[in-house]
Amino acid sequence: MADASPPRPAPISLRGTLLGYLAFAVAIAAVWGIDVYAVPWTDPYLTDIVIRIGMALLAVMGLALVLGFTGQFSLGHAGFMAVGAYAAAMMSLHSGLHPMIGVLVGGFAAAVAGVVVGLPSLRLTGDYLAVVTLGFNGIIIVLIQNAPVLGGAAGLTGLPVATTFGWTFTWVLLGGLFIRNLLTSAHGRVFEAVRDNEIALRSLGVDTTRAKVVAFVVGAFWAGIAGGLLAHYRASIFPSQFQFDRSIEILAMVVLGGTGSLSGPLLSAAVLTALPEVLRPVAEYRMVIYSLLLIGMMILRPKGLLGGKEISDFFRRRPAAKKEAA
């Protein structure tokens, strides 16, 4: 249990912050460098998988925040993706602005949906919250299916294609930085405290409803971004892409990655997105093997792929456990 202590680096220094910004800038530059100099020469299939992983990362980081850190059991994450996707698509179809502006609008639309869903429902707990968010997911799909402007069940087609490697991973880096910084800040502590003991947190004068709604909205925003990117990836979107099974898929990624970890779910998002591709040779037995592996991984790594840790923990020298009772 000694290693239960979270790896939150104690006070954040100005120097560390500046270094962080520098690293971020370098990473963005690297992404665009790859986009311009490597992607055109890379197997498009590989690029395709990588981009799909990128979109999964964005969806997963939001749920990792909501479920893994704040402890709110949401089963409707795909609903927020749908809101983002359709908002972005409508922007792009009707405004003539750059699709990435549409993606941003999609994020905000999903965030608004997050407030609408979150405010009333976050006073529910556990499985009750799960059912309500699941219901929200269902409602969104029905509304889209019945809205002729949104193409109904036939979906929207003829969207501009803009989700490139560069853009996807620019968003991934932005999202990753945002959520990581949020989690390692005072707000992150509050999120985790909500998960651990709401009553105690309220007795400290912290507005837990607000904290939950904030987590929910931030999670929804990044899901919306993922949805917006998806809309501009293959020129078409369909309501069937955002159904309950998609929410479940994202949930599985978060849990397999480990609740209370950010990089764990990101890793598992990559693994679970790539796994079906790896399993292609077995054709129709693919899902059988996929589910067997999912069960196996869950049993063998019950604390998540990284055992509840962050990737960085494996590189950091941890203080030796000098645990002695007082």
């Binding site: 197997d43 498009p44 299939y45 590989l46 395709d48 998988i49 799909r52 029905v142 299916q145 019945n146 109904g152 069940a153 036939a154 979906g155 087609t157 294609v161 998806l230 990836y233 293959r234 020129a235 078409s236 369909f238 309501p239 069937s240 892409q241 079906p276 591709e277 292609r280 054709a283 129709e284 693919r286 899902m287």
Partner: protein, 423 residues
């Protein structure tokens, strides 16, 4: 063809739903294609080179469909691609094939939008507007139906589209839609909707859904006391239909791509082969899969008469020098596909029109205890049902009794509107 690999082969890509919600449709299609490929290889492949089919599963998800096509294009470098059943998946993947200049034939995506993606995208099935029109004409003209209730699967773009086109034509013919209800795929209970419908007592209920639900719908309709006509589309086509719907579905009618009791040798031959290999009678999707592959192979054989193209077909090397040749061969294939005329398919005589859609008749069949029974054939546009090669794909089984209902005006199945046709 000096630098060609030692074992020469021609690669064709195929993607479909082998897992996930639409798996059963994908598997049928795959079976049909497999038979066509075996036949072709038994007959020496294309210009003596065997065909190798590379099959990818898209788990019934549109974005994965695009991934599979991306994989096919970059790894397997196929001459052409077959797929998908679901229009959404075809729509997601088609832009890739179009961009790569690889002909793609969808066996059974009926949404008009699919072939609009570009000039490399074809299909061998009729499109929803035509099928909806055909069903409406059958109902209004042949059965004298004047009032209809429509029960749509709102989750399915196929069902919604078909219902839409049916309603438009039926109303323009002078009929009335007196009730519109909806359900979702996978529902098991339809009594609420049918209680409403039955209370209005329409002449017919149009159920443009899949057999998985329509059998149950028929049971709930008859159970609720409904005595009128049950009508549907090609989604009804399955050996299981009667097993599910039992007595309730008997006497229902649906439009389809072909009829198993069509005596023409093309059809019977296919059914025999299919049954020998898979133990069941082929459904419409299997037949369409078969036809899509047959048309592809016929066109390829034609193109391969040019030795340069033949060599390019069999060559998968990525050398830029050969890339041009491959491109040219595929362009020739595209042109050849666009020229297909009166192809004697299992699903009727197929002509590819200028929008790369299949111009072909629909058949109306009646559900009987012994399987579907041919009722009539409905041709698109003003064209008469052609029967050139002695294989009367669409010939009425029981003689000329059944009239070929033809719309008054010729209209190539247009893109967004229904054939303004029938009025």
């Amino acid at each position: 063809s000096g630098g060609a690999p030692e074992t020469k082969e021609i690669v064709i890509g195929q993607y479909g739903s082998l897992t996930g919600g639409a798996a059963t449709f994908g598997l049928s299609t795959k079976n049909g294609i497999e038979i066509a490929t075996e036949e072709q290889n038994a007959a020496g492949g294309i210009a003596g080179v065997p065909i190798r089919m590379v099959l990818e599963d898209d788990a019934s998800k549109p974005e994965e469909a695009a991934t599979t096509v991306s994989k096919l294009l970059s790894r397997d470098r196929p001459v052409a691609i077959l797929g998908e059943v679901a229009s959404s998946s075809s729509l997601a993947a088609a832009p890739l094939a179009q961009a790569a200049g690889v002909p793609m034939i969808s066996p059974s995506s009926t949404s008009p939008k699919v072939t609009q993606v570009g000039d490399y995208i074809f299909r061998v099935c009729f499109i929803d507007p035509f099928q909806g029109t055909a069903a409406a004409q059958f109902a209004y003209n042949t059965k004298g139906v004047r009032t209809v209730a429509v029960l749509t699967d709102v989750k399915s773009d196929y069902s919604v589209g078909l219902a839409q086109y049916f309603k438009e034509t039926f109303v323009s013919l002078g009929g009335t839609i007196i009730a519109e209800e909806a359900y979702s795929a996978n529902d098991i209970d339809f009594k609420a909707q049918l209680t409403n419908i039955v209370s209005k007592n329409p002449d017919a209920i149009f159920v443009p859904g899949y057999y998985t639900e329509t059998g149950l719908i028929a049971r709930d309709a008859r159970g609720g006391g409904y005595k009128g006509i049950l009508l549907g589309g090609d989604g009804w086509d399955s050996e299981q239909l009667v097993g599910i719907g039992q007595d309730a579905i008997i006497g229902g009618f649906y439009t389809n791509h072909y009829s198993v009791d069509d005596p023409s040798p093309v059809v019977q031959d296919f059914i025999k082969k299919y049954q020998a290999k898979y133990g069941t009678k082929p459904d419409g999707l299997a037949a369409l899969g078969y036809d899509s592959a047959k048309i592809l192979y016929q066109s390829m054989t034609e193109v391969a008469k040019n030795p340069a193209h033949a060599a390019a077909f069999a060559d998968r090397s990525a050398v830029p020098a050969t890339e041009g040749a491959r491109k040219a061969a595929r362009a020739a294939l595209r042109d050849e596909l666009a020229r297909v005329k009166n192809f004697p398919g299992v699903t009727g005589t197929i002509t590819i029109d200028k929008d790369r859609n299949a111009e072909k008749p629909a058949v109306v069949v009646e559900v009987t205890k012994d399987g579907p029974r041919f009722v009539e054939s409905i041709s698109p546009g003003g064209s008469t049902a052609p029967a050139p090669t002695g294989t009367e794909g669409a010939a009425p089984a029981d003689g000329a009794a059944a009239p070929a209902v033809a719309p008054a005006e010729a209209a190539a199945p247009p893109v967004e509107a229904v054939p303004a046709a029938a009025k």
